[in-house]
Symmetry: D2
Subunit: 233 residues, 4 copies
């Protein structure tokens, strides 16, 4: 488990030549030169020149050029409530730990929401309750109930893990939606950690991995959190 009880995230795979691939894609659209020549030209050795073009293309909303880059994350210690939200991003690819095929042998791991953890009395009750659920789950599986049915008693708090992959276009979309304060805290922290893991290696992406109001220039929700004004106000 992580120290603060939230998601553990590690970037486990990204393509070689990220900038060069995007740069080649952008220039192929507007050049009489072949993509192979562009890929091997002098400019494609110059990160600064490449970034200047790429940033102009992304700012104009021509996101298809960054679909060429896909990244993969190893994610653990998120709740099943959180994973149910994450897998709704249909442009992502997931391989998630199965509650059907992986039988819990002892107390299952779980996450305590902050609002409960901050109240000592409720926190203890919550932890005890997780123990009771675990005991009932183990009784069920010992009595021959298959894991896929015994899991009916497992709570949304139960932790899960997955490998998740997405291209940069979806990564920006994910950040836009899930870094917004309307998103639930757990997924907000998860997505923030995905962004951080990526920008640590690719710092040029920082400007794009932001809540949607930063991209739009205004808030398009009913009520604003204060970061940007609601459109038209």
């Amino acid at each position: 488990m992580t120290k603060d009880g939230y998601a553990q995230v590690k970037l486990i795979s990204k393509p070689e030549n990220m900038l060069k691939t995007i740069y080649t894609a952008c220039r192929t659209c507007y050049s009489s030169d072949s993509p192979l020549n562009i890929y091997e030209c002098d400019n494609a050795q110059d990160n600064e020149k490449m970034l200047k073009l790429i940033s102009r293309v992304i700012s104009s909303g021509h996101y298809s050029t960054i679909e060429h880059i896909q990244v993969s994350f190893a994610i653990s210690n998120i709740s099943r409530a959180c994973s149910h939200q994450l897998v709704r991003h249909r442009h992502m690819s997931f391989s998630q730990k199965s509650q059907r095929y992986v039988k819990e042998k002892e107390q299952f791991e779980y996450l305590i929401p902050d609002s409960i953890a901050e109240n000592q009395e409720l926190k203890e009750k919550f932890e005890n309750f997780m123990g009771e659920i675990s005991a009932f789950y183990l009784e069920l599986t010992e009595k021959g109930i298959p894991a896929e049915d015994a899991r009916a008693v497992l709570p949304n708090a139960a932790s899960t893990s997955m490998v998740a992959s997405l291209n940069l276009r979806e990564m920006i979309h994910l950040a836009n939606l899930r870094l917004c304060t309307r998103a639930q805290k757990e997924i907000r922290i998860l997505v923030k950690r995905m962004c951080d893991a990526l920008t640590e290696e690719e710092p040029w992406l920082k400007d794009y991995l932001v809540p949607k109001c930063e991209r739009l220039g205004y808030c398009d929700e009913d009520k604003s959190c204060g970061r940007k004004q609601v459109k038209g106000n």
Copy 2:
């Protein structure tokens, strides 16, 4: 709740002119005539002629022609375990009851897996346990914990509902995967009911809404349920 404790499913929307639209799509690919003329031609009044062509096209695996038809289902009384499986079908569209925004006011509804329900002692324990979870959930919300956090204690068994839409290509894919005995019983029944609701109005689809082994002619899983032999055996 349904009598047998499984999903309630109703087909709430389908396009006008289903056969005519598919027929027009199929013929447009191979005809010098315009789609509008095809749509209004005599053959497009003759269900039998249209079905003959459509069945040949589907059998050849040219599924893109049936993407033109999308259908919508109102689904209720499925468990959150089941909905987590269903939303993994990324070509489908979903609007699901939110546990963040809909606060439970009394005992939440839930499903009991058959393997537990068949054991009277375990069934009672299960039902009592659902009562305890409900009590704790209600205590949490009464003490000011927001629904989105209190739901951490709600179990996979808790029921949910949704509107789900998909085109006929994905409908066939869904049936192929989820009518297979490898799929968990609850989603197998759900998908069977979706198929039944659709074929009641469109009986010609019956031949295609089958487990994948019927389509392939063999079982491609590690072990067969006996319906078809494993490939190569």
Copy 3:
């Protein structure tokens, strides 16, 4: 051919109960009631009430709720240049007339771009040239070259036809991009006609089927056409 030489478009299929289906989807997310009850409730008989909710949901960018509605168009008299642009919309479904399987028997149909048609001399030359291409195509096929190879000489101007289907979320996206003056004139007119065909039956969609600058409140291209200012200017 159409009078003005541009696309012929007809809406050939849309779901029954369009508003009711969207309304049910929107309310299902926030209601303790089942989608089936929502679908059959009094409000779902009242177009005005439904539209009020739907418009609020769309304005907040919650577009997944309108994916439940898919519409189909019969499209003819568009150029292959235009169809190559249109099929880049990957959330759409297409059944297009095949140049491999449909052999031209006489002068193929084609579109003359306005900038050429406006110059009488160039227009005549263009038309004569289309005749020459046709003659060479017919010579090739008569000499036994299969249609799929003979078509190598056919120009981008050659007309094609298709059945195209898309959900309302993609319809709004298509309008946002292709009604923008950056889009080429032919596809702009095609998409305008698709929008018109749809809003004739569903006038409430008019506010959403607009160029992207209307949705954003600013122009996100390098240069503005004057309709809205470039962001930050």
Copy 4:
């Protein structure tokens, strides 16, 4: 241009740790261990062990696990007829040379279909004809017609280039469809070269990058090319 007149293809990007990423994804589904631990375990250093698992998972049709790997190709010297076919693969990402923004300055490049090239007389006529088209195109652009309109006269034979990316699931699907003899020769060669470029670096993929009949065990087209029998025959 390539020596044989067909596509030039180069694999320009693939993820680091391809096998390890897929292996981690496969094992995450069935393991109580975290994906990070799996990624760093001893087995994930052993290509043979990883391949054994991966091949079993792919054979069972659990393709979602290989979506985590995306590869990118620089493609040039394909015809616009071919690119119009390729972009119909909606799970792929493309950045294609624009005929709107890239003006031809001299004779455009083009491909001659084999059936025409094999006939010396037709070949010469074809080449002369490409010269005439080029002359007319250049006349149009010199007289002020924008490239996006002048291209109306350019033929399907005109060559184009692109950067194309796809994940391994789609790569297998692409091979299944486009290595089939029903596919047109040009795209068959293109896709063969994409497969070859990939399997040169990842030879373990050879068994999967095959025509669909190899995967199915039978031909599902109306008529077989002889490689496999039609289903049911």
